[in-house]
Symmetry: C2
Subunit: 436 residues, 2 copies
C-alpha cells in the first residue's frame, strides 16, 4: 500500500522530533499501520536554522499554506503553536478536506468547538492526543477506554514545569523563585513563565480533559485558575508534617448541579500514587463509576514524548482515512449532537477541604476564636498544628485542615478570621483533596 503523505507545519523541537521518530521507527510503524507514514513536505518560518533531524527527502518551504494547499498531502500536522497562524492553517486544511493532527492545547481549548464543527462538516478528523500530557495517551484512555463509564472526576498534574518547581521545593527545601530560575536555565520554563506557573497552560489542558470526560463543550473561559507563585517553603513543610504533598492540579468534577473546573495548588495525601509523581513528569487520575480509579503517567512534554503522541494520532488517522466519518471516535468523545452544556459552577460553589495557615498572637483564647468562627459556619476541623513563636517573635503559626465545605462558606470564615484583632490580616488558604 502506498505511503501516507504527511505535511508538517513547524520544524521546532517537536517538529524535528516527529521527523526523527518517523524515520527511526519507520519499519516498526509500518509493521503496525500496514503502510508507511512519511513526511513529504514541511514548512518553517526560518529555513536557515539547522534542525536536529534529517530533512532529506522532505520538500521545504517557508510558507505554511504551501504545505496545506499541496494536493498530494493526506494529513497536515500542526506544530506551530499559538492561536494565530496555527488557527488559520488548521481551518484552511479542514476546508480542503485534509485531516489534521495537532499538539496545540491553546488552539483546541480556545477554538476547538469551531474547529471540530468545521471538521465534522467536511468529514475530516482533527486529532490532538499530544495536546494534553505530552506522550501520555490520556486523551485516548478517556475518550475510548473509559467509554463504558460515567466519569465522576479527574485530577491531573498536567504542567511539568510547575511540578518540577513544587517537587524541588519539597525535596530540597528551596524557595519558589530560586527553583523557577533554575527551571528557566534548564529550559523547562520559558523566559515568561506565566503560562506555566499561573496555571494557564494547565487550564487549557483541563478544558480539553473535562470536555471529553463529561461530553460538554470546550469552555476555557470558565475554568477557575490559580497559580503556584504564592506557595511558600513553609507551607510545603507544614503540608508534609500533616501527611500531604502540594501539587498543582487541574480538577474537573461532576456534581448534581453542574461541573467544577479548577486549576490550583492542592494538598493531597502523600500515600496517593499521584502524590509521588515528581519532577517534570505528568499524571492524570480519573475516577469513573465502573472501573474506579485509573492513573496515566509519563513525560508531559519534550520533543520525542510529544512526537510519540503525534505519531500515534497519525496511525489512528491513517486507519480512519477510508472509514465513514460517523464511525470514527468523535472529537470530544461524545457524538457532537450529544454534547450537553452542563453549567460550570462558579468557584464559590466548589466543595473542597482546606489547609489554612495563619499567624496569630500567642495568647489564650485565640485558637478558640478561630475554631468558633469555623464552627459557626459548619466547617469541621480535621487537624490542627500550632507552633510556638520563634524567639523574639510574638506570633504563633496555626495550621488547620478542614473537612470539605462550600468555598463561599470558607470565604466568609476567612473574612471573619482576618478581622480578628488577634490574627495577622492574611490567612493562607490552599485547597485539599483526598482523591479517594
Amino acid at each position: 500500500m502506498e505511503a501516507v503523505k504527511v505535511g508538517l507545519l513547524g520544524l521546532g523541537t517537536v517538529g524535528s522530533g516527529v521527523v526523527r521518530v518517523l524515520a527511526r521507527n519507520d519499519e516498526e510503524i509500518s509493521r503496525r499501520a500496514g503502510r508507511a507514514i512519511r513526511v513529504v513536505r514541511a514548512a518553517s518560518r526560518d529555513l536557515s536554522v539547522r534542525r536536529d533531524c534529517d530533512l532529506s527527502g522532505i520538500a521545504l518551504t517557508d510558507r505554511a499554506q504551501d504545505v496545506v494547499d499541496d494536493p498530494d498531502i493526506d494529513i497536515v500536522v500542526e506544530l506551530i503553536g499559538g492561536t494565530g497562524i496555527a488557527y488559520e492553517m488548521v481551518l484552511r486544511a479542514i476546508d480542503q478536506g485534509k485531516h489534521v493532527v495537532t499538539a496545540n492545547k491553546a488552539l483546541i481549548a480556545l477554538h476547538g468547538n469551531e474547529i471540530f464543527a468545521r471538521a465534522s462538516e467536511r468529514g475530516v478528523t482533527v486529532a490532538f492526543e499530544a495536546a494534553v500530557g505530552g506522550g501520555i495517551p490520556v486523551i485516548k484512555a478517556i475518550r475510548e477506554a473509559l467509554a463504558g463509564n460515567t466519569i465522576e472526576w479527574l485530577a491531573g498534574i498536567i504542567n511539568g514545569t510547575g511540578n518540577f518547581i513544587l517537587s524541588e521545593m519539597r525535596d530540597k527545601g528551596r524557595d519558589f523563585e530560586d527553583v523557577l530560575s533554575e527551571a528557566q536555565s534548564l529550559g523547562y520554563a520559558e523566559a515568561d513563565p506565566t503560562f506555566d506557573v499561573e496555571g494557564i497552560d494547565a487550564a487549557h489542558k483541563l478544558t480539553i480533559l473535562a470536555s471529553i470526560a463529561f461530553g460538554i463543550p470546550l469552555q476555557y473561559e470558565r475554568v477557575y485558575t490559580e497559580g503556584i507563585t504564592r506557595i511558600t517553603r513553609e507551607d510545603v513543610t507544614y503540608a508534609a508534617e500533616l501527611g500531604y504533598r502540594i501539587k498543582h492540579l487541574g480538577i474537573a468534577r461532576r456534581r448534581d448541579s453542574g461541573v467544577e473546573l479548577r486549576v490550583h495548588p492542592t494538598l493531597i495525601p502523600h500515600r496517593r500514587l499521584i502524590a509521588n509523581v515528581d519532577g517534570v513528569m505528568n499524571a492524570v487520575l480519573v475516577r469513573a463509576d465502573a472501573v474506579g480509579s485509573t492513573l496515566y503517567y509519563g513525560p508531559g512534554a519534550g520533543a520525542e514524548p510529544t512526537a510519540s503522541a503525534v505519531v500515534a494520532d497519525l496511525v489512528d488517522v491513517t486507519r480512519a482515512l477510508t472509514v465513514d466519518p460517523n464511525n470514527r471516535v468523535p472529537h470530544l468523545a461524545f457524538q457532537p449532537e450529544a454534547l450537553i452544556d452542563l453549567p460550570v459552577l462558579p468557584i464559590g460553589e466548589a466543595v473542597t477541604a482546606y489547609y489554612l495557615h495563619l499567624r496569630a498572637q500567642d495568647r489564650p483564647g485565640v485558637l478558640a476564636d478561630i475554631t468558633r468562627i469555623l464552627g459557626d459556619l459548619s466547617i469541621s476541623i480535621e487537624a490542627v498544628l500550632q507552633r510556638q513563636p520563634a524567639e523574639e517573635a510574638t506570633d504563633a503559626s496555626i495550621v488547620i485542615v478542614t473537612a470539605a465545605v462550600r468555598e463561599a462558606n470558607m470565604d466568609e470564615a476567612i473574612r471573619r478570621i482576618e478581622a480578628l484583632d488577634t490574627t495577622a490580616d492574611h490567612v493562607t488558604r490552599i485547597r485539599l483533596e483526598n482523591l479517594n
Copy 2:
C-alpha cells in the same frame, strides 16, 4: 441507528457486571458510540442461581451455542473462562462471522495465535482488553498509543492477589501463609491459589503484553515463571533497609539476541512509582524509545473494572463493524504478516541484578570468600549488609546486592558459594531491576 445486539456467555461475577454497567450507563454509552449496545441473550450453566443484575429483556439459555448461533447477535462476549468450552465457543462464533469480546487471558495466551488467524480469515475482530490488567486500558495503550515507538521493555504488576500478599507482608510484617489465608477469606485468592501465587496468571498476561509490544507470536510455554511462595518476611525487611520493595513482576525485554520473558519476585527501588502500587491494584510500566517511560495503573480485577474493559471493547468493535478489516487495529498490534518470531531467550541468558541472602559462620574470611567468588565471575557488588548472629546462634546473615549479570554466571556463583564450608547450603536469590 439500531442498537448493537450482544450475546453473553457466562453470567458470573464479570458477566453480571457487564449487564449492570451496560444498563446503568446506557445513555452515556449511546452518547459516545452513537448507538445503543444491548445484551439481548445470555447463557449460563445454571439458570437457577440468583444474579446480581437485572436480567429483564435478556433471553436466557443454559446452552452457550444457542447464543453463539443466534443470527440476531452481532457480538459475542465470552466470560466463561478457561480453555475448554470457551475455546470451542469463541471459534464457533468466529466461524459464524461474529465478532468476539473476551476477558479470557488463558484462552488468548494459549490459543490466541490460532484464534486470531481464524478471525482474520473470517474478517472479524476478537477484542481482549479485559484479559490483562482488568480495567486498565493497557492493551489499547500499547497497541495503539505507543504505535510510533520501538518498545524496549515492560514490567507489570499484573496479578492483584500476589500484590496484595506482598503489600501486606511489607506493611504489617506478616508471613506469606498468613496473608494468603486472609486473601482467600476475602475472596481475592481462589481456594487453589496456584494460578496467582505461582505466577501462572501473570505469565498468561505477560505473554499477551509481550506479543503486542514486540510484534511476536504468543508463546506462553516459553515464559520463565517463578512464584512468590518462598519470599520471607526477612527478605522483605532486608529489601526495605536497602531501599527496595519486592514486587511480583512480569517482565518482557527486547535484547539484541532475542526477548526475555519472565515472571518472578523482583526488588525494585522504592522511589519508583510502580514500587508504590499496593494492595490488589495493578500497574504496567512501559519503556519505549520515543516516549520514554509511561505507566498505566488501576484495578486489575473485579466485576465492574473488568466490565469497563469489556464495554470499551464493545464500543470499539461497534465502531469497527462496518470497517474494512484491513483498516482495523491488528489483534497483536502488528499486521499478522509482520509478526517476527524473535527467539525467546532461556532464563540463563537473562541479564539482571540480584539480591542474595545467605547464612554463614560468623568468623573472619567468610565474606572475603564470597566476594572473591563473585569477583572471579565478574559480578560487581553494589551493596552489602551483614548482620551479627542473634544470641545463641552462630550464623550471621549476609545480604548482597549485585550489578546486572548474565543469569548463568550467577547460577555458577551461587553453586560455588553454596559449596563453601562456611556457608549454609542455600542462598536465597531474588532478581533486582532498577527500571530506569
